[in-house]
């Protein structure tokens, strides 16, 4: 469904609830739109169930923009029935040093969930996650779904300073903070990989898949991690 969000944006809805099949579909439509190099296209903002298409309202009006997008959406929807869900998405491995010194909430989650610290780490590294959206801060990727046995709500009072690289859990979502910032997610470790810089922008894209790999303190430091 394509609807006007305002005078320079169309919102395309793919569904109402979070669904692991949607990021691939939304990424597919993004590629189809980008391939046309439309002169009136300003920005594409994919999220969990939607794609926001921002256009230049001086160059094209809302009705024409809608009719240009409609066949592309139809192509995505029919292609998706043929192609299996995740065959074409990128798989990115992110090394994580899980520990008390980099994950101040790791022991708390283990205790709350009646698990050992190692079990929490094992469950966090066992799954492959979908990147549903980039937002909150540059390069911050919202990933899911976290194993329900280690899912936990945000902190009641957010921390004023979460160190860069911190890996957090909030309900069934997980993410890495690209830069030091305030934040309320439960922190379990830290990643030495640069997730955002001015030249390469965001490492993660909506539609990517991510797997976390547990590394040692030495490996973390050797890869440029900060304590």
């Amino acid at each position: 469904m394509i609807e006007a969000a305002d005078e320079d944006a169309l919102l395309i809805r793919f569904g109402d609830a979070i669904d692991s099949a949607l990021p691939a579909q939304i990424a597919d439509l993004c590629q189809r739109i980008e391939a046309l190099e439309l002169p009136w296209l300003v920005d594409l903002v994919p999220s969990y169930t939607t794609l926001l298409v921002i256009y230049d309202p001086i160059t094209i009006n809302v009705l024409d923009a809608k009719s240009r997008l409609r066949p592309l959406l139809a192509e995505t929807q029919s292609a998706d029935r043929i192609k299996s869900e995740t065959t074409e998405s990128r798989l990115i491995e992110l090394p994580i040093y899980y520990s008390e010194e980099t994950g101040p909430d790791l022991a708390w989650i283990a205790e709350q969930k009646g698990l050992s610290v190692q079990q929490v780490i094992d469950r966090h590294t066992a799954d492959t996650y979908q990147v549903y959206a980039i937002g909150f801060a540059p390069g911050f990727g919202f990933m899911g779904q976290v194993d329900p046995t280690i899912a936990c709500p945000r902190k009641d009072t957010p921390r004023t300073k979460v160190p860069a690289g911190s890996v957090g859990i909030a309900n069934q979502q997980t993410a890495v903070y690209p830069k030091t910032s305030p934040g309320g997610w439960q922190l379990i470790g830290r990643c030495p990989t640069v997730l955002f810089d001015e030249d390469n922008l965001s490492l993660l894209k909506a539609g990517d898949r991510v797997r976390f790999v547990s590394i040692s303190r030495e490996e973390y430091l050797a890869q440029g991690g900060q304590l």
Binding site: A5, D6, T50, G135, F136
Partner: protein, 325 residues
């Protein structure tokens, strides 16, 4: 910004006031990286500042919050000051806003505190050629990018070089500033979760006088009025645009502006038109504002007419009027 003595053509900041940033029309093609659009909050005042100098539409200017700004000309240059009404002087002598001004090397331009509104725009002929991030000179402070910061004393602001003379000084017609004197009634385009709001709450949205709160910055302005009775619950986060009015559980709307996040999970009954975002952004804390419903096509027509006027009109030789090409 460049350090002392680095440039020959442009201005040197003596005092930036409470907060002043360089802004153009904002960034393009980067919001999927989680980067904000940025850009001038008040499209109209910024456009007129540039129009007075025959600048490109996207030329960068200084957006000065509440005034109190002083700068020295490092070279002969043409500037213009628009937006919130303030006392402007050159070497202590009063000059008018909403017109082009000639500065000689060493001249000191001083802008007093703003009186009834919030934002003052200072443009220079050729535009300020400060550092670009992602193809735009707009400064988004909250992202913490290195050097992407408000202006500091001693910052030097290079101006683009222009060969031709401006001729007679230009004076903006009353239409340039009259809209700012109107009672702030903001056009709201229904959209996003409009259909999930109670009819009574949608009615309340356009009949309540909202007060602009002190919690207002380039990310958004919090509004205070009769709260909505029962706004819809949070939604799955989706792409949001500057101008979107989001309503958290307390029922008090927040109008998002140029530096807002790229995705968000609060329900939104609609979006303020791009032109009226400027009218909102100009209001001081405590001012009452109202919403009225409009539609996408009307908003697009209004914006197009404004942009066409910018591109398709030329100044008369005496600098007192504009003619369509």
């Amino acid at each position: 910004m460049k350090g002392p003595g680095a440039i020959r053509h442009g201005l040197r900041v003596i005092n930036p006031g409470i907060k002043a940033t360089i802004q153009d029309l904002g960034r393009k093609g980067i919001r999927h990286h989680g980067l904000a659009r940025g850009g001038v909050l008040d499209l109209r005042s910024a456009a007129w500042a540039n129009k007075l100098l025959d600048n490109d539409r996207n030329s960068a200017c200084v957006e000065i919050v509440l005034g109190g700004f002083r700068a020295e000309a490092l070279s002969a240059c043409e500037v213009s000051v628009t937006g919130a009404q303030a006392d402007v002087t050159v070497n202590g002598k009063a000059v008018e806003m909403w017109r082009s001004l000639h500065l000689a090397p060493g001249d000191e331009l001083a802008i007093s505190h703003a009186r009834h509104h919030r934002l003052i725009y200072l443009a220079v002929r050729g535009g300020f050629e400060t550092k670009e991030w992602f193809g735009s000179r707009s400064v988004v402070v909250r992202e913490g990018l290195e050097g992407c910061e408000p202006l500091q004393p001693e910052d030097e602001l290079p101006a683009g070089s222009v060969d031709t003379s401006l001729g007679a000084p230009r004076i903006a017609p009353p239409q340039a500033w009259q809209w700012l004197e109107r009672p702030p009634v903001l056009g709201l385009i229904p959209g996003y979760q409009y259909n999930q709001f109670l009819t009574a709450d949608l009615r309340r949205l356009v009949t309540t006088e909202y007060k602009v709160s002190h919690e207002s910055d380039r990310m958004g302005y919090r509004l205070a009025g009769t709260p909505m009775a029962d706004p819809p619950p949070g939604i799955v986060s989706e792409g949001i645009v500057p101008g979107a009015v989001q309503v958290p559980g307390d029922g008090q709307p927040i109008a998002l502006l140029a530096d807002c996040q790229t995705i968000g999970g609060y329900p939104k009954p609609g979006v303020i038109t791009s032109m009226d975002c400027g009218l909102l952004a100009q209001q001081l804390p405590g001012t009452q504002i109202r919403f009225e419903w409009t539609d996408v096509l009307s908003a697009q027509n209004q914006r197009r007419l404004f942009e066409r006027h910018y591109h398709q009109t030329v100044w008369s030789e005496d600098g007192l009027s504009l003619h369509w090409r």
